[in-house]
Structures are given as C-alpha cells and as structure tokens.
Amino acid sequence: MIESEVRVTTELGKIVLEQVNKTYRKNSDEVRALVDVSVKVDQGEFVAVVGPSGSGKSTLMNVVGLLDRPDSGSYRLDGGEVDSFLPDKLARLRNEKIGFVFQSFHLLPKTTAVENVELPLIYCTRSDISELGVRALEQVGLKDRARHLPSELSGGEQQRVAIARALVNEPEIILADEPTGNLDTRSGLEVLAIFQELNRQGKTVILITHDPGVAAMADRVLELVDGRIVSDKKTESPKDARRELEVVS
C-alpha cells in the first residue's frame, strides 16, 4: 500500500510501459505490432522513435496517446494505470494532457486557422479559453494568419496550425507522427525548431520518423524493428533545428 503511494509520487509526469503487447488481425494474418515493449519516458524528454514502416511506431504512439489499448502489459501515465480508465476519462486525458500532430495535418476544411486551433477547447471543461487560440498561434509564429483558411496556407503553415492546435490546451506531452513527412526541408526544420522550443519549455515530445536527420534533433532515439525495441540511445549533442535553418537559408 505504502509502496504504491510512493510510486505514484515518483512517477508524476512519466510515461511507463511494461511488457506491452499489441496484435492486429488483418484478414487471416496476425500482425504483432508491439512485442514485450518496456520503456520509460520522463517529463521533459525529447524522444524520436525510428524504424522501418510496419515496425510498430504508430501503434506505440497510439497506445501512448490513449487512442488504443494494449492487449497485455501495463501502461502507467502519471502513475495511473491506463487500463483501468473508462473511455470518457481517456478522452479527458487526451484533451488535457496530450497534443497530437499528424503527417497529413488533419485540419478541418473551410474553417479558419484560429477556429481549427480552438477545436480541443470545445471539448474541455475550463472556461478561460477566449485568448488561448490566438496565443497558441502566436507560439508557432502565425498570429497574423488567424483568419486564414487552411486552403490559403502553405503546407508548413498548415502543420504549424496543427501544432498550435496540439498546444492550445497546454498539454504536458506532444505526440507527433511523421510531422515533417509531407513538408519540404525548410518547412520541416521550422516545425522541428518549434518542437525543440516546446521541449525547452518543459514539454515531453515524442516524435515518430523514419528520417535519421530528423531523429538527430532529439536527445533520445528509440529504434523499433518488428514491434520490438532494438536500441535505446541518448544522443550526445542533438542538432539544433534553428541553426540548421540558418545553414539552409
């Protein structure tokens, strides 16, 4: 009893996966997307997850992001056992603790940038929301584009709007699935610079990529092959995206 209480306090802000398994059935084939995955991520880390396609990267992100449940094993977020949470509680945690960024942006069409950014606020319980959308856009340098529609923005700008949406409810964790996959080098570096800045402010960033150049921006790299973690290395001196950007231009 006392032991578990101690653990709760020490695991605050932590992501802890122990022996997590996840298997998908596609037609008659079984795909073992995650096999005995155990990993801990502390508050404030910047982790890149790399690996070939089909290695389980996205499944790992979905499990960590509370969009999917593991078949077996344990996932504790902030010390709470996720498996015991009801769907509404998971929705609330996704809303308050986690911000998602996707490869294909997923902005609502015909909806202005600021309204897209404010989407998570529709589903939150807080009431002081009037300035949050604009403030989040300011953080990604798009305050002057607030009234623009996604179709009027470049790919890089759209992804920055999507990042602002991930930030708007001030989550502790940012999960990004190939956020630079659809962007040119310059826009990609701008996006990565934002992630590094957010990480410096104390947010946990988990970024999925198959690009070693992108992974080099993180201070820790997890490599997945066939659903297993095959390496987990700290990067000695991560590259600075802001400086890379200067080199490019």
Binding site: L67, D68, A91, R94, K110, T111, Y123, C124
Partner: protein, 406 residues
C-alpha cells in the same frame, strides 16, 4: 458551458458545409411542404363543396327523383322512368300537410339556342313559379314568369349570364326573340349568376322556361324527372319522406315486392356524405404525413451516413483532441434534428405564401392548416432525430486509430 460551446460549434460547422446542409434540408422541406399544401387544398375543396351544397340544398328540402330501382341495387330499366308526374306532386302537397311547396325540374337537355346568326348549346330547364322560393335563385334583370305563363305554356324564357353575354354580344336581351330548337321564345329576364356547380356545369349557361312549355313544346312528355319539395321544418323531413313514399307507392300501384320507382335525397344524406368525406380526410391525412416524412427521414439518414463515411478523419481527429463518444453523438443528432427543423420551418413559410396564391386561383378561403402543419413539423424533427441516431452512433463508435492514418 461545454454543451453551449458544442452547440455553437455545430451551428458554425453546418453553415460551413452549406451544400450538404441544403440537401439534407430538402428532404423534410419537400415533405412538410407537400403535406401542408395537400391538406390545405383538400380542406379547402371540402369546405367549398359543403358551402355549395348548403347553398343549393339546405334546410328542409327533399329532392325527389324518378328512378328505376337503381338505388336499391336492381337493374336500371332501359328507358326513362315515366311514372312521376305533376299530378303526383299536387297529390303530395294536398295530402301531406308538412310539405309546403314544390318545384319540378325538367331537364330538356343541351339544346341549340339561336339569336339571329348566333347559336349556342345551352342547358334548357323547365320550372314552375316557385323557382325562386325553392332554389333561391331569382332574376337579376327583368322578371320571372308567373302563373299565367305556366298555365298557358307561354313561350317565354329566362337566360343565364353566360347565355346573355355570348348570344347577344352585350345587347340587353330582354324583349328579344330567340329560338330553342325550332320554337321561338321571348326573353323576359336574366337569371342571377351562380357560377360552376359541383359537377362542373356552368350554371349560367342555362335557359329556364315554364315547365308546362318544356313538357309540351320542347320535350313532348307528360312525366317529370326531378322535383324539389320544401317541408315546413327540418323536424318534419323524416315523417314527410315516409309519407311521400307510402303515397307514391300507392299512386303508382306498386306491389309489395316491387322496388320504388322513385328516390328521395334529403339533407340528412348530405350530412352523411360530408361525414364520410371528413372520415376520408382524417384517415388520409396521417398516411400522407407518414409517407412524406418517412421519405424525408430516409433522405436525411442517407446523407448523414454518407457524411459519417466522408468525415471519418474529422471524427477521428475530434476524438484524438478529447471528444467523448457522447460529444460526437450530440454533434450528429444536433445536425440532423436542426436541419430537419429548419427545413420544416422554411416549408411552412413557403406554404403560407403558396397557399395565398392557390386559394385565390382556386377560389376558396385561404386556410393555412396550422394543426396539420405544426404536426408535420414536429414529426419532421422527430424523424430527423430518429434518422440521426444510427449515423451518430456509427460516428461515435469509430476508432480514431484507423481514421487518422488515412
């Protein structure tokens, strides 16, 4: 707080997808509009019929017709029934005190009526001096014929407004000579305009002559087809009908097992007719309402399901950013019920405008059937909600994992 935000967001979202919203509205719009207009025209037609029936056939009148047992389901005799006569009518009046007055109606059929070079085919009728009293129709110009003309089978005629207009080309017809067939007549008056009757006859395209003249000089018959009798009061009608039946059976020497060679029609039967029309309406109405709204509901449900499939990524995203299942459900139910309600209200507005034109064109009172309309609107919203349930459930049950990868 949160639900207010959700509702506001839902409104804005619908405004953004105008085309989708428009097509969803169309289903209930057409349903409610069709229903309202059908009911309005139906009610208007019925009311117009009732008021016309009341005008020509109200109070304590009995319509007596010669007929060959057809009303009892027996075979119609080949020729006209020739047994009903003026003598019968005189006998009825003299032996049944509740019968106050009578007027025969001889239909001399459509005849050629000629004035100088102009000719027209006109309904020619024979009536007595009680014409105005019994049928509530007098002369607008000139005068009706009197006893002398009836007694002498005088060749005098009253013409309807249509005849007056078309045959005489605007000239005052009174005093002019016309021919009905080959018999010359003098026009002594113009009949009050009535318009078109229930059968679609133009009642102003008529010529009325004394019944004696019609029988002897035009038709060459000694029997009548129809007569209208007025009883002293409504209460006397049933006993009068029974007394007339007994008297006529006796006068026509009908055996016990022979059917009547005449029939009678009273306001009681008119009331029954109106009652059965009302029953048809009350039965017909919910069926029409049900069908039109069902179609509207199917349209909405289809578009909603299509919408869910189209918006899989959007739904997945909403869930990823914290929408609960009930939030997604609420969004879709709100959309379907709101769209059907707005469609229904628009339909009512259009119906009010359309009906004001229709009632003017069809010449009956402008009646907006508010009861039916509000019922239709309520049903539309209900249908919208029901139609939205399945798509909303489907949307809420979508797994964000699969939709976000697309």
């Amino acid at each position: 707080m949160r639900s207010g935000r959700l509702v506001r967001h839902g409104f804005r979202d619908m405004a953004r997808h105008r085309l989708r919203t428009f097509f969803m509205m169309l289903g209930t719009f057409i349903g409610v509009l069709a229903l309202t207009i059908v009911v309005a025209i139906g009610q208007g037609t019925r009311d117009a019929m009732v008021s016309r029936i009341d005008k020509v056939f109200s109070g304590s009148s009995i319509l007596l017709s010669a007929s060959g047992g057809g009303s009892r389901g027996g075979p119609h005799s080949a020729g006209p029934v020739t047994t009903l006569t003026i003598d019968d009518l005189e006998a009825i009046q003299s032996s049944i005190p509740s019968i106050e007055v009578w007027d025969p109606m001889l239909l001399a059929g459509p005849r050629e009526v000629v004035y100088r070079g102009n000719s027209n085919t006109v309904r020619v009728m024979g009536h007595s001096t009680h014409y105005e009293e019994v049928w509530s129709r007098g002369a607008s110009r000139g005068a009706l014929f009197g006893d002398a003309e009836v007694r002498s089978s005088a060749r005098v005629a009253l013409v309807g407004e249509t005849v007056a207009r078309e045959l005489f080309e605007g000239a005052d017809p009174i005093g002019l000579q016309i021919r009905i067939g080959s018999v010359p007549f003098e026009v002594i008056g113009v009949l009050e305009a009535i318009g078109t009757d229930l059968h679609g006859w133009d009642r102003d395209n008529e010529v009325v002559v004394p019944y004696t003249t019609a029988m002897r000089r035009i038709m060459n018959v000694d029997y009548i087809g129809t007569a209208k009798l007025l009883a002293v009061s409504d209460a006397e009608i049933e006993t009068s009908v029974a007394a007339i039946e007994t008297l006529l059976r006796e006068r026509h020497a009908l055996a016990e097992d022979e059917p009547n060679d005449f029939s009678m029609f009273t306001p009681v039967q008119v009331q029954q007719m109106v009652g059965s029309m009302n029953r048809i309406f009350t039965l017909f109405l919910p069926i029409v309402a049900g069908v039109s709204l069902l179609i509207g509901g199917i349209v909405v449900a289809n578009l909603m399901i299509m919408g869910v499939n189209e918006r899989r990524a959007e739904i997945g995203l909403r869930k990823a950013v914290g929408a609960r299942q009930k939030d997604i459900r609420l969004q879709f139910l709100l959309e379907s019920s709101l769209v059907t309600m707005v469609g229904g209200v628009l339909a009512l507005v259009v119906a009010v405008v359309a009906l004001s034109f229709v009632s003017r064109a069809m010449d009956f009172e402008n009646i907006m059937p508010w009861q039916a309309a509000v019922l239709a609107l309520a049903a539309a919203v209900l249908v919208g909600l029901v139609a939205g349930v399945t798509p909303a459930r489907r949307a809420a049950a979508l797994e964000p994992v699969s939709t976000l990868r697309e």
